[in-house]
């Protein structure tokens, strides 16, 4: 589903990723881990084409990213649900609308929007915050709105960047459980985190990065 072949990424003179090869199978749930600045976010950005690889090949959902036309980029992204490390919620619209955006962009019928958004918000236990604005939410609540937005459109791939960075251990465990349930229904999930607790005893594959270098693979 997602394949990296000798991928390198340089920012100015700095190397963010060096010759990374890694793949996630269709329906698999995998993790990327490594210390801060090791290149986890960069790897996810390459997948949804917020950045372009300088070397190597990336294939996502049978699309060769280096050969993708500009007009195909939205097509690629509509297959992916993203939980951004910095959430990227829109402050001028309420929680409901923030989640609904993912559906509106995909042209989902207005009649289905409401029930889908409510279902997604229920999954992250924020059904009662529907009418709040992002600025009136705690960091953890904002993060869960971001998760709801990523899952609401039922994409084939979910990329989650530190999705439990702002929540307590119990909530965190709940979020991971939710992702596992979604994965069990066939969605491919790639989750970046420096928190080993998340994949400990999960039985899932973990890619380890260190200063942009491949630092081994393990089963959590």
């Amino acid at each position: 589903m997602i394949t990296f072949e000798n991928v390198s990424k340089f920012y100015d003179n700095q190397t963010a990723l060096r010759k990374i090869s890694f793949s996630v199978e269709r329906g698999e749930m995998a993790f990327i881990t490594g210390p801060s600045g090791s290149g986890k976010t960069t790897m996810l950005k390459l997948i949804y084409m917020a950045e372009k690889a300088d070397e190597g090949r990336i294939n996502v959902n049978d699309m060769e990213l280096s050969q993708l036309r500009e007009s195909d980029v939205p097509v690629l992204r509509k297959n992916i649900g993203i939980v951004f490390q910095d959430f990227r919620l829109l402050d001028n619209i309420n929680v409901f609308e923030n989640v609904a955006i993912a559906l509106r962009i995909r042209g989902v019928d207005e009649r289905e929007v409401k029930s889908k958004v409510f279902d997604a918000l229920k999954l992250v236990s924020l059904r009662h915050k529907t009418d709040s604005y992002p600025t009136a939410l705690s960091g953890g609540e904002q993060q869960r709105v971001a998760i709801a937005r990523a899952i609401v459109s039922e994409p084939v791939i979910i990329l989650a960047d530190e999705p439990t960075g702002n929540v307590d251990p119990d909530t965190s465990a709940g979020i991971i459980r939710t992702f596992k349930e979604i994965n069990a229904r066939g969605t491919t999930i790639l989750l970046a985190t420096h928190n080993r607790e998340l994949f400990k005893n999960s039985g899932k594959r973990v890619l380890k990065l260190d200063f942009g270098n491949f630092a081994g693979e393990e089963i959590g």
Binding site: Y48, M49, A50, E70, V73, P74, V75, L76, R77, K78, I80, I82, F84, R88, L90, N92, I93, I101, A102, R104, I105, R106, G107, E110, R149
Partner: protein
């Protein structure tokens, strides 16, 4: 993409940035109002100057004692000239009667003149597009050379001053119209550009979530169009107020202004221009969206 959603986004954004937008609407209204006033002035000056050809004529005074045959020859020669619309022969007796009747109570001026001193005259009307100082001068030089013609007379000074006045007003008007339209366009452009910069991160988020270019563009186009349209309607309102409350009042004291024509059936042009400028401004401001 749902249209109603784009409209909702656009109107939310218009309300959110109401002060920037209000300022833009006012500026556009002022620009369009000023442009419209200029257009109307040029239009009216044009109307007046277009009346001139009907009254304008070149008088060809003939030498004394020409035979009818000779006069017919002269008339035929002049008629061949492509810029001549028609020719009227005024015998000196008619001219004399005319002069006398116009002097009714002051006939004593003519006392002592037993004989009619006036010459036979050919009154020439020119074609509309030949009535400008150069063309008239050219034809009068030509006429002078015809055998049997003694003198040519036309309102030379009058013609050239009216002509340069209308030309001047047209040139100034056109320049103003171009400057004002460019200004209005620029206001739309910068308003949308400001909104666009302000929403840079929001737009980037939309892109990352899979929005197509049109999904992103559409609300901005609606915003630009709305701002332009509002500016246009406000400008029209200003123009109507100016016409009905100022011009007509002034017209009752200065009759020149009361003949000022206001083509009401063209008033849709103001909002329409605002709309078009708003959309063009938005298109330029958004520019190319890249992924």
């Amino acid at each position: 993409m749902s249209m109603s959603y784009s409209f909702r986004l656009a109107f939310q954004s218009i309300i959110r940035d109401k002060w920037v937008n209000l300022l833009a609407v006012l500026t556009i209204a002022a620009g369009l109002l000023f442009t419209a006033v200029t257009v109307l002035t040029v239009f009216n000056v044009n109307l007046i100057t277009r009346e001139i050809p009907k009254k304008f004529s070149v008088n060809v005074y003939l030498k004394e004692n020409l035979q009818k045959q000779e006069i017919d020859n002269i008339t035929a020669t002049i008629k061949k000239e492509p810029s001549v619309e028609n020719i009227k022969f005024i015998p000196k007796e008619d001219a004399w009667k005319e002069l006398k009747s116009s002097l009714k109570n002051t006939e004593y001026i003519l006392e002592g003149l037993n004989e009619n001193p006036l010459p036979d005259t050919l009154e020439i009307k020119l074609k509309k597009d030949s009535i400008n100082p150069d063309a008239v001068k050219k034809i009068s030089t030509m006429l002078k050379q015809i055998k049997g013609v003694s003198e040519i007379e036309y309102g030379e000074k009058f013609l050239s001053s009216i002509y340069s006045l209308s030309l001047g007003i047209k040139t100034i008007g056109l320049t103003l119209i171009i400057i004002m339209s460019a200004g209005t366009l620029f206001v739309c452009y910068s308003t949308v550009k400001i909104l666009f910069y302000r929403k840079n991160r929001e737009i980037e988020t939309y892109k990352f979530l899979g929005a197509t270019k049109w999904f992103i563009r559409f609300p901005f186009l609606i915003e630009g169009a709305t701002i332009g349209l509002c500016g246009g309607f406000l400008g029209l309102l200003g123009l109507l107020i100016l016409y009905y409350f100022v011009l007509l009042k002034v017209g009752s004291t200065f009759p020149i202004f009361s003949s000022f024509v206001f083509p009401l059936n063209m008033s849709y042009l103001l909002p329409a221009t605002g709309f078009v400028l708003g959309v063009i401004g938005a298109v330029i401001a958004i520019g190319r969206i890249r992924y």
